[in-house]
Amino acid sequence: MPLKLEIITPERTVYDEVVEEVIAPGSEGMLGILPHHAPLFTLLGSGELRIKRGGMEQAIAVFGGFMDVRADRVTVLTDAAENAEEIDDQRAQAAREAAQKALELAAGSANATEGARAKASLFRALVRIRVSERRRRPR
C-alpha cells in the first residue's frame, strides 16, 4: 500500500510524492509513520522531517504546524518548509551566531519575550544547519 506525503505551506506546496516512510518531529517527540498507520492528528514542532523513498533518505526542515495521518496518506501543514538544497548554509550559520548573541544579551535583561524569541530563532538556525549537513553526507 502506498503512502502519499504532501507538505504544504501557506505560500506553496513543497513536497508531493508517494513515499515509504515518514519520520516527523511531532510536538510530543519524533514519530515514524509507515503505511496503515492509525488515523492521527498531531501538532508539529520545528525540526527535520525525514522521508524514506526508494532506498534513499531525504530531509526537509519544517517549522511548526500540523500533521494529519491516514492509512494511505500524510498531510503536513506547516508554516514554513525548506528542502536541504534550498538552505543557504552560510546564512544559516550566520543566523545561528546572531541568535546566540541575542540569547546572551537577553539572558542579561529581564525581558522574557526577547529571550524566547532568540531561543526560537537559534533553534530554527540549528534545524536548518542539521538538514543542510545531511545533504552533504548521504547515508
Binding site: 505560500e11 506553496r12 488515523p39 492528528f41 500540523f66 494529519d68 491516514r70
Partner: protein
C-alpha cells in the same frame, strides 16, 4: 472646426498618453503573473486546513473554544480589503458598494480597512473604522497579514463584535474578479459531506482541545492572508485590463484625429487649387 494643425497636435499628445498607458499595462502584466501564481499556490493550504476543521468538528463542542462561540449577532466587523492605488477599473467601487449593501442588512457594523481606497471610501461614508492598514507589500506573507487577523480575533474574543467577515475581490481569472464577502468568525465547519467523514478512531497529540487551540487561530490568519492574495491578484489583473483598454482607446482616438486632419488638409488643398484655377481663368479673360 479645429484646424489641421490643432488636430495633429492633439493626435501627438494622445500618442504620448498611449505610451504611458502601454508601459503601465506591461508593468501590471508582469506583476499580475506573479500575484496570480501566488494565489494559486496558496489555495491548497487553505483548502486542507478547512477540511481539518471539518474533521475535528465531531470531536469538539462549540463551548470548547471561544473562536467557535455563537452569540446573538448585535455587532459585526467587516475586514474590507481594497487596493492602495487606483487605475484598477471599477474593482474598489464594486467592492465598497457590496460592503455597504451587506452592512445595510446588518445591525451595527464596524470596519477594519485595508488599502487606501477603502480607508478613504469609509471615511467619506462616515463609517466606524477600528483599524486601518495601508501600504502592504505586493507579495504579502503571513507576517504582514497576521496583525490584521489579530485585531479581528481581539474584537471577537472581547465580545465587541459577534461576527467577523472579510470583504475582498476574489480572483477568478484575468478578466473576471468578483466582490466576495466571507464569514471568518465564529468558525463553523462546512456542511457535512458524508464521503468525507473522518474516521471514528482518531488520535490527537497532545489532545483534541490542544489541537483546536492551535488550528483555530491559524484558520483566521489564513482567511485574512488568502483574502489579501486574492485581492492582489485581482488588483493587477484589473489594472492590466484597464490599461490595455486605455491603450486601445488611445489608438482609436489617434486614428480618428489623423483622419480628420487629413480631411482638413485635403479641403485646404482643394480650396487652394480652386483659387489658383479661378485666378488663372480671370487673367485669361482679361
Amino acid at each position: 472646426m479645429p484646424s489641421e494643425r490643432e488636430l495633429r497636435q492633439r493626435a501627438r499628445s494622445i500618442k504620448n498618453i498611449q505610451q504611458v498607458t502601454r508601459a503601465m499595462q506591461l508593468v501590471a502584466a508582469s506583476k499580475m503573473r506573479r500575484a496570480q501564481a501566488a494565489v494559486l499556490a496558496s489555495r491548497p493550504y487553505e483548502e486542507r486546513l478547512r477540511t481539518v476543521l471539518n474533521d475535528l468538528a465531531p470531536f469538539a463542542e462549540p463551548d470548547d473554544h471561544a473562536l467557535l462561540a455563537h452569540r446573538e449577532v448585535k455587532n459585526v466587523l467587516v475586514i474590507l480589503v481594497t487596493t492602495d492605488r487606483g487605475l484598477v477599473g471599477p474593482m474598489n467601487v464594486n467592492l465598497l458598494r457590496a460592503a455597504v449593501k451587506f452592512a445595510d442588512e446588518r445591525p451595527a457594523v464596524s470596519y477594519v480597512a485595508v488599502g487606501r481606497k477603502g480607508i478613504n471610501g469609509l471615511r467619506r461614508l462616515g463609517a466606524r473604522v477600528v483599524a486601518e492598514f495601508a501600504g502592504l507589500t505586493d507579495r504579502p506573507t503571513t507576517v504582514d497579514t497576521n496583525p490584521i487577523a489579530r485585531i479581528a480575533q481581539e474584537e471577537f474574543l472581547t465580545e465587541r463584535v459577534d461576527e467577523v467577515h472579510v470583504a475582498f475581490t476574489r480572483f477568478v481569472n484575468t478578466l473576471r474578479q468578483v466582490p466576495t464577502i466571507r464569514r471568518v468568525l465564529p468558525l463553523v465547519p462546512e456542511d457535512e459531506d458524508l464521503d468525507a467523514l473522518p474516521p471514528l478512531q482518531y488520535l490527537f497529540e497532545p489532545d483534541a482541545v490542544g489541537v483546536l487551540e492551535q488550528v483555530l487561530p491559524r484558520l483566521v490568519e489564513l482567511a485574512v492572508f488568502q483574502a489579501l492574495l486574492e485581492s492582489k491578484a485581482s488588483q493587477y489583473s484589473a489594472q492590466m485590463v484597464a490599461m490595455r483598454s486605455a491603450t486601445d482607446a488611445a489608438r482609436d482616438i489617434i486614428a480618428d484625429l489623423t483622419l480628420a486632419a487629413n480631411k482638413a488638409r485635403q479641403t485646404r488643398i482643394t480650396k487652394e487649387m480652386l483659387e489658383i484655377a479661378s485666378g488663372a481663368e480671370a487673367l485669361a479673360k482679361g
